[in-house]
C-alpha cells in the first residue's frame, strides 16, 4: 500500500539496509570503531560550530543529520577521501542557507578555524590538553589567503554533499513534535521538556544513527518516555505510544539506545584521552597506518 499522503512534514528519508551494512569508509579500510569515533567527533564539532554561529538548535540538528547521512552507505562519502571537518562546515553552511538564519562563508570558516585550532580550541577531541589561559590569537586567526582557499573547499564540499545525498537534504526534527505530543497528553512541565530536548539532542550523536534509522515521531515518543521516567512524571495509562504510531519494540529499542548515549560518550572520551580524534582525511589514514603497525607487532 502506498504511504499516506500528507505525512511528509512528519517523516524523514531513512537509510536502507544495504546502506547501513556497508559504508564507503569501511570499503576503504577504515575500521568501524574509528569511523564511529570520527562521526561522533564530527557531530560534536558541528554542534559546537552551530552554537558559536548562534544558529537555532533546529538548524544545528539538521546540519548534524546531514553530516551523518553523508557517510552512510557504499555510495556515501569516505573518511579516507573527505575530511570530517570540511563536511561538517559545509553541512552547517548549507543548512543555515536554507533556514531563516543564513550565515556567510566567512563566519563559518572563522568559527571552524577557532574550533580546530590545536592550541585555542575548547573541544576535548581537538585539543586534549584544553586551551591555555589566554591562547595567542595567531593560533586561531584565519588569514585572507587561507580564507580564500578554504572558501573554495567549503563550496566544493557543499556541492559534494548535495550530489552524494541526491539533494535529499530536508530534515524533520523531532523536538517540536515532542512538545506537541506532550501537550496532547497534558503533561507539559519545563523540567520534563528540557530533559526531552536533552535526550533528543544527545541522540543526534548516537553511534546507532538514530536520526537516519527512525522517524521523528518515534524519537519524540522515546525521549518523552525516557524523560518522564527520569523526571518522575506520570503519563497516560496504557500504551499511549501507540497513539503516536510507535510500537512497543521500536520504543524499547530507542529507549535503550538513548540511555546508552552517556556511556558511549564517556567511553569515547576515555579512549581519546591523550590524542585528538582525526577530523582530516590524511590524519585518518595516518591513524590507520599506526593501527596496522601496532597490529603487526
Amino acid at each position: 500500500m502506498a504511504p499516506i499522503q500528507g505525512l511528509d512534514s512528519l517523516s524523514n528519508a531513512l537509510a536502507t539496509l544495504a546502506q547501513l551494512s556497508t559504508s564507503s569508509s569501511s570499503l576503504d579500510g577504515v575500521p568501524t570503531d574509528l569511523e564511529a569515533s570520527v562521526r561522533f567527533a564530527g557531530s560534536l564539532l558541528t554542534q559546537a560550530a552551530g552554537v558559536l554561529l548562534r544558529l537555532p538548535q533546529e538548524v544545528i540538528a539538521q546540519a548534524v543529520v546531514i553530516f551523518t547521512r553523508f557517510w552512510i552507505g557504499p555510495e556515501g562519502g569516505s573518511l579516507a577521501i573527505y575530511s570530517a571537518k570540511d563536511i561538517s562546515a559545509a553541512s552547517v553552511y548549507l543548512t543555515a542557507k536554507l533556514s531563516f538564519q543564513p550565515t556567510s562563508p566567512r563566519s563559518v570558516l572563522n568559527v571552524y578555524s577557532f574550533l580546530l585550532s590545536k592550541e585555542a580550541s575548547p573541544l576535548w577531541f581537538v585539543n586534549p590538553n584544553g586551551p591555555g589561559v589566554q591562547p595567542a590569537p595567531e593560533t586561531y586567526y584565519l588569514s585572507e589567503g587561507t580564507y580564500q582557499s578554504e572558501r573554495l573547499v567549503l563550496l566544493r564540499m557543499e556541492a559534494t554533499i548535495l550530489r552524494t545525498l541526491g539533494f535529499q537534504i530536508r530534515v524533520i526534527i523531532p523536538h517540536t513534535i515532542a512538545l506537541t505530543y506532550l501537550q496532547t497528553m497534558n503533561a507539559t512541565s519545563p523540567a520534563l521538556a528540557k530533559r526531552i530536548f536533552e535526550h533528543l539532542s544527545a541522540a543526534l550523536l548516537s553511534p546507532q544513527l538514530l536520526y537516519v534509522t527512525h522517524q521523528p515521531n518515534a524519537l519524540a515518543v522515546a525521549a518523552i518516555y525516557l524523560g518522564a521516567r527520569e523526571e518522575g512524571v506520570k503519563l497516560a495509562d496504557g500504551e499511549w505510544w501507540k497513539v503516536f504510531d510507535v510500537d512497543r519494540e521500536e520504543l524499547g529499542f530507542l529507549v535503550v539506545a538513548m540511555r546508552s548515549m552517556n556511556g558511549f560518550a564517556m567511553a569515547e572520551k576515555d579512549k581519546w584521552k591523550t590524542q585528538p580524534i582525526p577530523l582530516i582525511a590524511d590524519d585518518v589514514m595516518e591513524e590507520l597506518e599506526k593501527k596496522r603497525a601496532s597490529d603487526g607487532d
Partner: protein
C-alpha cells in the same frame, strides 16, 4: 533494520480495510448486545478471539498484557465499547537517498526556452524512452556556492507532490560541479504561449476547470507553508489532457506565521500585488492570490499609507469621496462576458487590500464555480499543437467564397496540365522531385 520495520508496517497496512470492516462489524454487534445479555456474552467471546489475533499480529507472544487489560475493564464494569481499540501504527513514508545520476542518461531533443532561472529543453530518457523536460540551473557568478533559489526550488518540488504541480522526477548532474539539471515531467504547453497562439479564447467552462486546478495547487502550497511568489501564465504548464501544472519554483520559499521578513522584489511586475509594489516587507499568501488573476484609497485599504513607498505616491483626486460600503467591484463595462459571480470573484482576488483578499479555500467554494456553465471535465478539453514539441498549426489556404456582385475572374486553363511553374507552393513530394525530359 529500517527495511524490516517498514515491511512489517506494510503488512499491517495491507489488511487495513479488513480490520476496519471488522471493527465496524464488531461495533454494530456491540450495540445490539446491550439489548440482550446473552448476545453480549457471545460478542465478548468474539472480541476475545479478536484480541488474541491482534496479540499474535503485533506482539508476537506477549499475551499477558492484553489479558490483564481486559480483566481491568470488566472489573470497572465499563461497557464493552470502551474496550481498547485495535491500534494500528501508521506507516510513514520513508524516502531513500542516493547519489545523483549523470545527465548522460538523457538525450537532448530540442531546446524549449531560457529564463532567468535556467535553460529548459526536451529530452528523452535513454533507458525508458520517456520524454522529460530537463532544466539546467544557472549557477554562474554565485559567490555563495549553490544558489539558494535553486536549492529551495528542488526542496519544494520534492515536497510538493500534487497533481497540479509539476512532478520533479530526479536531479541529475553533469561532469562539472556546476552542472545540475532538474528532470521533470514534460508538458506540451505553457499557458502564455498557448493563449498567444490560440485562435479562440477558452470557453467559460474551460476557464473554470483551469482556475480550479490552479487554485487547488495554490491551496496545497499555502497549506504547506510555501509561497510561490511568481504565479503567472508562463509558469503554468498545460498538457493535451486538460491538466494544468504549476512550475518554476525559483522564487518560491517557505514562510511562517507571523510572516518572516522577506524581500519585496518578487513576482513578475505585471502580476505583482500592490503591497509588494509599495514596499511591504511582511507579506503572506495573499500575494499569490493576487497573481492568480485604479489607485488605492483610504476607504478600500486603510493601512496602506504606512507602507514605505506609499509616501511618494501621488493619488489623483478621487471623484467619489463618499464612503464605500461593501466589496468594491471592478467596472462592469470592462468585462461584458463575465457573470455576476465571476465578476465578484475577480474583484475580491484583485482586491487592493491584502486583508480583504480571500484565501484559497474560500475561492474554491465561490459560487462562480457552481453556476452554469459548469467546469468542463478535463477529458473534454480540446488539444493544441505543442510549440515545445516543435509542432505547428497546419495552415491550409482555402479560397474564399466569391463576393456577391464581383466580376467573374478571367480563367485561363491553357497550362493546367503542363508542368507546375518554378516556386509554385503546390504540394511537393517528400525528399525528391522527379524531373522528366
Amino acid at each position: 533494520m529500517s527495511t524490516t520495520l517498514k515491511s512489517r508496517w506494510a503488512d499491517d497496512n495491507d489488511d487495513d480495510p479488513e480490520v476496519e470492516a471488522q471493527r465496524k462489524h464488531e461495533k454494530e454487534k456491540k450495540k445490539l448486545a446491550k439489548a440482550t445479555k446473552q448476545r453480549k456474552l457471545e460478542v465478548k467471546d468474539s472480541a476475545q478471539e479478536q484480541q488474541q489475533q491482534e496479540d499474535e499480529n503485533t506482539f508476537n507472544g506477549e499475551a499477558e498484557r492484553p489479558a490483564k487489560r481486559r480483566r481491568l475493564s470488566e472489573d470497572a464494569g465499563m461497557p464493552v465499547e470502551a474496550e481498547p481499540k485495535r491500534a494500528i501504527c501508521l506507516r510513514f513514508p520513508a524516502p531513500e537517498w542516493g547519489p545523483c545520476r549523470h545527465v548522460d542518461n538523457f538525450e537532448k531533443l530540442n531546446h524549449i526556452e531560457e529564463g532567468s532561472y535556467g535553460w529548459v529543453s526536451r529530452a528523452k530518457d535513454i533507458v525508458t524512452g520517456e520524454i522529460v523536460a530537463l532544466k539546467k540551473l544557472k549557477m554562474e557568478n554565485s559567490p555563495d556556492g549553490f544558489p539558494v533559489t535553486g536549492l529551495r526550488e528542488i526542496q519544494m518540488l520534492m515536497e510538493a507532490r500534487h497533481h497540479n504541480i509539476v512532478h520533479l522526477r530526479e536531479v541529475v548532474v553533469g561532469d562539472k560541479m556546476d552542472d545540475v539539471y532538474l528532470v521533470m515531467d514534460f508538458l506540451e504547453h505553457d499557458l502564455k504561449t498557448l493563449l498567444d497562439e490560440m485562435r479562440e479564447p477558452f470557453l467559460p467552462s474551460e476557464i473554470k476547470t483551469l482556475l480550479l486546478q490552479i487554485l487547488s495547487a495554490t491551496e496545497f502550497l499555502h497549506s504547506h507553508w510555501i509561497l510561490h511568489r511568481d504565479m503567472k501564465t508562463s509558469n503554468l504548464l498545460m498538457n493535451n489532457r486538460g491538466e494544468i501544472k504549476l512550475a518554476d519554483f525559483g522564487m518560491a520559499r517557505y514562510y511562517g506565521d507571523p510572516p518572516p521578513k522577506l524581500t519585496q522584489l518578487v513576482v513578475t511586475l505585471w502580476y505583482r500585488s500592490p503591497e509588494l509594489l509599495l514596499g511591504s516587507e511582511k507579506y503572506g499568501p495573499e500575494i499569490d492570490i493576487f497573481a492568480v488573476t485604479g489607485p488605492p484609497t483610504q476607504q478600500t485599504w486603510p493601512s496602506f499609507r504606512s507602507l514605505p513607498n506609499a509616501r511618494s505616491l501621488r493619488l489623483p483626486p478621487s471623484s467619489k469621496s463618499a464612503s464605500v460600503t461593501g466589496p468594491v467591484l471592478l467596472p462592469r463595462s470592462k468585462f461584458p462576458y463575465l457573470t455576476n459571480a465571476g465578476l465578484a470573484l475577480m474583484s475580491v482576488l484583485l482586491a487592493l487590500n491584502p486583508a480583504s483578499r480571500p484565501n484559497v479555500a474560500e475561492c474554491l467554494k465561490h459560487p462562480y464555480f457552481h453556476e452554469d456553465p459548469r467546469p468542463k471535465p478535463k477529458e473534454m478539453f480540446p488539444t493544441f499543437p505543442s510549440k515545445a514539441r516543435l509542432e505547428r498549426r497546419r495552415r491550409r489556404e482555402t479560397p474564399e467564397a466569391p463576393k456577391h456582385g464581383a466580376e467573374a475572374p478571367q480563367l485561363d486553363f491553357a497550362d493546367v496540365f503542363s508542368a507546375p511553374l518554378e516556386g509554385d507552393t503546390g504540394e511537393v513530394g517528400a525528399g525528391f522531385t522527379l524531373r522528366l525530359g
